[in-house]
Amino acid sequence: MPLLERVSRAIDQHGLIPKLVRQLPRFTMLLAILGVSWLFVLPLHGQYRITYISENALMPSQAYSFFRESEWNIVRGYREEVVRAFEEQDMTGKNELMTTWLDNIGYKVATHEINSNESVVYGIFHAPRGDDTEAMVLVAPWFTFDGEQNAGGVALTIALARYFYRMSIWSKNIIVVFPKNGQLSLRSWVEAYHTSLDKTAGSIESAVVLEYPSDADHLDYIELNYAGVNGQLPNLDLVNCAVFISEHEGFKVSLQQTPKGQLWARDYGSRLTVLLKSIFELSMTGLLKGGGNGCEAFSGWNIQAISLRAKKGADSHDITTFGRVVEAIFRSVNNLLEKFHQSFFFYLMLAPRNFVSIGTYLPSAVLISVGYALASLSAILTNNNRNNDLSQTLRLRSPNIDPIPLCVGFAIFFLIFTISTIFGVSMMYVAERYPYDNDNVDGYRKLTFTVIFSGVFFSFYASLAPSLSLSKETDDHKKFKAQVVRTLNALALFFLTVVLIGLLVVHFALSFTIGVCALPLAFISYGPQSSQSRAKLINSALLLISCPWSTILAAGVLSSVGFDLDMVRNIAQNFHLGTAREIVSALHFPSSLDYAEWQYLLDGPTEIFVGLISAYKHFQSWTWLAICYGWFTTWLCLWAISISDVTYGEEITELEAKPAK
């Protein structure tokens, strides 16, 4: 304590605080840079950790797997039938076929009717040794994430179901589910399972989604997906189990769609790529392509879900090896006596066997959020008013805000908050009312680009805005206006701080992404509209960069040209003009000015926008709410600040007033 007292006195004597106040925007910048570079430090050797199985009961791959040559013909037989079903039958026919099979094996079969023309078949195997309260789920969607026919996955799953039924070791029930796709159909089933279905088998402990869109006998490597909606991840133990077992069976595991060539890489670049891609994927869960990888469907019900996607190749692993991976995962989960709780729920993967836990990565988003808090303080300490001479130290002891402008500032903030709420809710209503299908796709495209271009227009309006000031403003009026604007500025930034900090733990990726993308908002200044066109232009640029809709545009275009972070890594790691050219040519840029060529480019942003506004309805994803209430509200407030005409500087009048006393 005496030491603290000395430090505070030293700060006092040198007048450090008033000097530092003017530097607050630089601190914000510094913190943001630190926050981002924190992530770049994590993949360095010694900063991340090597994964380990925390729950001893799991014992992955300790039991001998019997899903071997004896099952070969069974898998092949089922596959032949499945392939034929794909050719000849519609969904009803396929479901009937599956019902017959499951019934013949001995499963309790039931159907969940999603609507009049879609239903999901699932079968329950009540565990011979269990108390019938817990279940493990195996899902094989008929169509994969990319819309391909999941022949291999479905055949393997039914063969596994048959194989599991003959074993007496199960202490948890087994449920096999065959939805049409791993997104909305599966979500609907999961929701119905917990709310309305009659035939259930206890609480679901784990879920594995299988995809192998091929009728080939062999496969190459496994792609593991684990991201759930709203930042929820399966317990790290389950992910570890899957990785351990797959590698034990000889598969390479790919996280975040790492291409095959990178699976052997163990360098900084590959770890960083996986880290950044996982942050991007986590912040976009539930939005892309109708809701992603299958794990999203299980989010929100305390279910640990992973999805395994086998990749075709001429390697020596045959399809029963893939089956053994699933078998071993099920046997591990079967060993559990308690729920998954030992290992981390909040982590980021860098490589299949490397991770960073929450304590290590959280500071990066904390630093950014604190940066916003400092920006808010800086706003209230008049740093953003261009009328003030910012090169000098703050002369006021504490720059007061009179109560009335304070209340007006609050009122304007709530007004803007209401506006963005109405906007957000009406967009959600649109998504609820009109499904995104061929009839409405054009309407949605128009809607998306109206929103995006209005964002662009508003941003540029900030530098073109005419001076609205009425002919004669009294000094009181000017002072009042300056204080209102100052309050609004500080309040908007503080609000964003609260939103970001609130999201921090639950949804790190979203908090980080919004924090980085909205950062320019912290540097928007206000002043007289009649002059300083340079400052106004800067404001416009800042608004344009930080607008949520510009981010959607950028992300959408990048996704539709097929941009992948691995390309950047590739260029950076082995820079060679030939490689660079090759990589750039791999992107699908439109080759001519023909509208049809450009159309798919426009579809990227549209898909993201539609994903955003419908994700709450489909997956209870909060991303739209966070963007609309947090980011967009703040953006609108700062836009309002940048078009306001403030001709009053706080300190100038204070200094002038002094001699009069």
Binding site: S8, I11, D12, G15, I17, P18, V21, Q232, L233, N302, K339, F345, F346, A373, S376, L377, I380, L381, L394, R397, S398, P403, C407, F410, F494, T497, V498, I501, G502, V505, V506
Partner: protein, 417 residues
């Protein structure tokens, strides 16, 4: 009571908000009441309704362990018969009474200031050191802490009202009213009896002509008889003394539920056989600081008001079942200490920024623990601990500032932020 136009518009808009919002969102109080930040077993409206149900069906609400509300309150709400509008009206009215008393206190402080400067022979700087009434109204009515505690229908609202009446009556020499309303507050939620010490000291200060012991006997006698009157009335209402288990629950911390405070985590971790000892220690800890506060800040009436305010803050920090509505009482009185703001080491703006950030984080961590199951109790407790620390630092900063003021009004330049 005279209102100027600003005050009137604030009061009317506050009343409109308090009456309209719960009618438009009838589920709002259920949502808030389900949150541990607003509802402890001893003040939740949900358990009050349970009591009403039991009472109406001829059962003794206190034979089980669900109801921890005093019988008179339960009976009052039984009379209302769960009429939504009347319930909202009662809460709005309680809030209004609290606000009116707060304004009277504010006026008293202004008057004190004028008198003090007159005595010193300085020229009168009226109302410079205090906030105008309408600001105090706005601060009280539009403070999220206050609004949400009204919306959550926490019964602490009534306790707050009676404590506010006590403070106001002390200011205006209505001493028996002060003691009586303190006994009502005690009857409602046990803890307010702690404030009897500063209250009695205040009465002694304001009646210098009377012998101190006489005052002590009179005041404590009045307090105890008021309390026993209420308890006896409760006995008549319920037909047994079982309702006293309410107070036992609060003192012995029988219901270990997560809340804003510091007790619950400790008592979930501790071995059973240490339980009684630590219940004693914690209760003692909650009470014991009232004594030094009263002794140290016992020179003038204004000082004693400060001692009372600090005691309220400290009890919020240290008691078994603190909720947002308790904080609301403490924080609405902050404005009365404007003269102390200049010596604070941490500017109130920063303290409040921290407070609100943490209040936003608390439900998030609770959600991560209870709904997502990805966190555990440590998450929620850790953030609650940080919150309590911020509150404690806030409080001790004011004590520091008060000491600075006594030392000679030394102004430090640290307070520029």
């Amino acid at each position: 009571m005279k209102f100027d136009s600003k005050e009137l518009s604030i009061v009317i808009s506050a009343l409109v908000i308090q009456l309209v919002v719960p009618s438009v969102f009838p589920n709002l109080h259920k949502i808030l009441d389900n949150s541990v930040l607003f509802a402890a077993p001893v003040n939740s409206f949900r358990s009050l309704k349970e009591g009403i149900f039991l009472l109406r069906n001829g059962l003794n609400p206190y034979s089980g362990t669900i109801i921890h509300h005093p019988p008179i309150l339960v009976s009052l709400f039984t009379v209302i018969n769960e009429n939504e509008l009347v319930t909202n009206l009662i809460y709005a009215l309680a809030d209004l009474v609290t606000a009116l008393n707060l304004i009277r206190i504010n006026e008293w402080f202004m008057k004190q200031e004028v008198e003090a400067s007159n005595e010193k022979g300085e020229k009168i700087q009226t109302k410079q050191e205090y906030f105008a009434n309408w600001i105090v109204y706005a601060w009280y009515f539009f403070n999220p802490l206050g609004i949400t505690s009204i919306f959550s229908r926490s019964t602490t609202v009534f306790t707050n009202m009676f404590i506010m009446i006590t403070l106001k009556s002390l200011c205006y020499q209505e001493l028996s009213v002060a003691v009586m309303s303190l006994s009502v507050a005690t009857y409602l939620s046990y803890h307010p009896w702690y404030y009897i010490l500063p209250v009695v000291c205040y009465i002694i200060k304001s009646k210098p002509e009377e012998h101190p012991w006489k005052i002590v006997v009179k005041a404590v006698g009045l307090f105890v008889s008021g309390l026993f009157g209420l308890l006896y009335l409760s006995f008549q209402l319920t037909g047994s003394w079982q309702f006293l288990t309410n107070y036992e629950t609060i003192v012995m911390f029988h219901k270990i539920t997560p809340n804003l405070g510091l007790w619950w985590y400790f008592f979930t971790e501790i071995f059973q056989f240490f339980n009684n000892f630590f219940v004693g220690v914690f209760n003692l800890y909650t009470f014991i600081f009232i004594v030094p506060f009263t002794l140290r800040f016992g020179k003038t009436k204004r000082d004693l008001m400060f001692a009372l305010w600090v005691s309220i803050g400290f009890v919020n920090f240290a008691k078994a079942y603190p909720t947002i509505s308790d904080l609301s009482l403490f924080h609405c009185l902050v404005l009365e200490w404007k003269p102390l703001f200049k010596n604070l080491r941490i500017n109130p703006v920063i303290s409040y920024m921290l407070t609100y950030v943490l209040l936003a984080l608390l439900p998030v961590f609770y959600y991560v623990w209870m709904e997502l199951n990805s966190g555990n109790s440590n998450f929620f407790y850790a953030i609650g601990l940080v919150f309590s620390t911020v509150e404690a630092v806030f409080l001790s900063d004011f004590i520091w500032s008060k000491l600075c003021e006594e030392y000679g009004g030394a102004r430090r330049d640290l307070t520029q932020i």
